[in-house]
């Protein structure tokens, strides 16, 4: 058990849960992109996601992943803060490390706040509400993006998410020890490509419906 309370163990949990959340993101984005293809197709997919027993079970696993990722993240941050009780009077971290790697807590917390809003307006409405008065899942998605502020919040959150992923994706591999002179640079490029893809993909949907 000491593994899970060790510094490396906690990082492994962060890494595995992070990669798991990434796999969820991919599915989520794939389904959402269907909105750009056809209304019926999206509604069908949405229905499938909402009723399929496997997906439904996975929802709980996903929630657990979130909780673990967030709780470990907070514990690690707390421990990291304790490790340096006295700060430097002059510090130039920008000379030796990237901004996304140094702001994982900030981007993480902001994305979490976004997720609360997102869950309230979509998941809650789809599962327990009346779709906010809209007819289908598709209409709910399209409808909410009429509001410019709402759309802006979403796009901003996707940018933050992209930053979080930019570091998180490749860092997850390092944490579980996947590092090889041949493949690591590829993983890093993939990480950047992936985070841009996710950020642009989600933002594109919001913006598409805002302008149409």
């Amino acid at each position: 058990m000491s593994f899970f309370t060790s510094s490396i163990g906690r990082k492994v949990v962060m890494s595995i849960t992070g990669l798991f959340l990434i796999s969820f993101l991919i599915v989520h984005l794939a389904v959402n992109l269907l909105t750009l293809v056809s209304k019926d197709l999206f509604n069908e997919a949405s229905h499938f996601m909402g009723t399929n027993p496997f997906i439904q079970t996975m929802q709980y696993v996903l929630a657990l992943g979130f909780i673990l990722h967030i709780s470990q993240g907070l514990i690690l941050t707390m421990k990291n803060r304790q490790a340096r009780p006295q700060k430097y009077a002059m510090n130039k971290p920008e000379t030796n490390s990237g901004i996304s790697s140094r702001s994982m807590l900030l981007t993480g917390v902001l994305v979490l706040l976004f997720i609360f809003i997102h869950l309230r307006d979509y998941l809650w409405e789809m599962k327990f509400g009346n779709l906010g008065g809209y007819e289908t899942d598709y209409d709910l998605v399209v409808g909410l993006f009429d509001d410019p502020i709402y759309t802006a919040v979403y796009v901003l959150s996707f940018i933050l998410l992209a930053f979080h992923l930019n570091h998180g994706f490749q860092s997850a591999f390092q944490s579980i020890g996947v590092n090889h002179p041949k493949y690591t640079s590829f993983l890093k490029t993939l990480s950047t490509v992936f985070c841009i893809f996710v950020g642009v993909g989600f933002s594109a949907i919001s913006l598409y419906f805002f302008f149409n």
Binding site: I8, A89, I176
Partner: protein, 250 residues
């Protein structure tokens, strides 16, 4: 050159400490940073003040004793060097230079810029060795051929000088680079593989006990490391730790 130095002064471990400003003149660009500190100290002694205490010994970048956080970077603005190898030609006339000790809970300040790095020694005592006694009849040095790539990689990891710049520059004060360098070196060599599992488990446990932070993979340590110890060592340690945790019998 004329410079303004802002140096952390702290009389003893319990004292509060503060940044004190000192002007210095007549600094030659050919001086090393520590020779510039010598000039300041000579002046202070002549004025009847206490000189700035700082750690230093070999002054050729190998003992790992010198440890200054200069203008917001471990060992100053140059790369691949220790403080003693930093030369004043890296600064401009009129510059203001902040000089601080390593900051970490596991490196408490002893005086001024001198910190206590015995936590590193204790990590080494927990497993940074091969359990072999001195004897005149160990097997011949060439009995086990070691692939050159492995030997070279082990050597690269083994060049760590234990200065603590990795901890100082890590935003979390993590000692992962230091610990992983030793774990890697010995995990790569057949002589060290025998007790690799025990080693990594014990060393990481001690590292955590000392109060170092965790690794966020920002890579700052690798950039600031005077010996260019690679992040791949941290990955190797993570791997070793993971597999040791999964398979260790006790």
């Amino acid at each position: 050159m004329k410079l303004t130095l802002k140096i952390w002064r702290q009389a003893d471990p319990q004292a509060k400490g503060e940044t004190v400003t000192y002007p210095v003149n007549d600094i030659s660009p050919d001086m090393s940073f520590l020779e510039m500190m010598d000039v300041l100290n000579e002046e202070l002694v002549n004025k009847g003040e206490e000189p700035v205490a700082f750690d230093h010994d070999c002054r050729e970048g190998i003992c790992g004793m010198c440890s200054m956080y200069i203008n917001g970077e471990a060992h100053g603005p140059d790369r691949g060097i220790t403080t003693c190898q930093l030369h004043m030609r890296k600064f401009k006339d009129g510059d203001t230079i902040y000089i601080e000790p390593w900051r970490a809970k596991a490196f408490p300040v002893i005086k001024d810029l001198v910190v206590d790095r015995n936590s590193f020694d204790r990590i080494m005592e927990a497993g940074g060795f091969v359990s072999v006694n001195t004897s005149g009849n160990t097997q011949d040095a060439n009995a086990i051929p070691i692939p050159k790539e492995d030997a070279d990689e082990a050597f690269d990891a083994a060049t760590c000088i234990g200065c603590g710049a990795c901890v100082a520059s890590c935003k979390n004060s993590s000692a992962m680079l230091f610990v992983s360098a030793k774990v890697s070196q010995l995990a790569l060599l057949p002589q060290g593989k025998v007790e690799a599992k025990r080693r990594v488990l014990n060393m990481v446990e001690q590292m955590d006990k000392e109060g170092f932070g965790n690794c966020t993979n920002t890579g700052a340590c690798e950039v600031e490391c005077p010996k260019g110890i690679s992040l791949s060592n941290i990955a190797r340690m993570n791997r070793e730790y993971l597999s040791a945790s999964l398979t260790a019998k006790d």
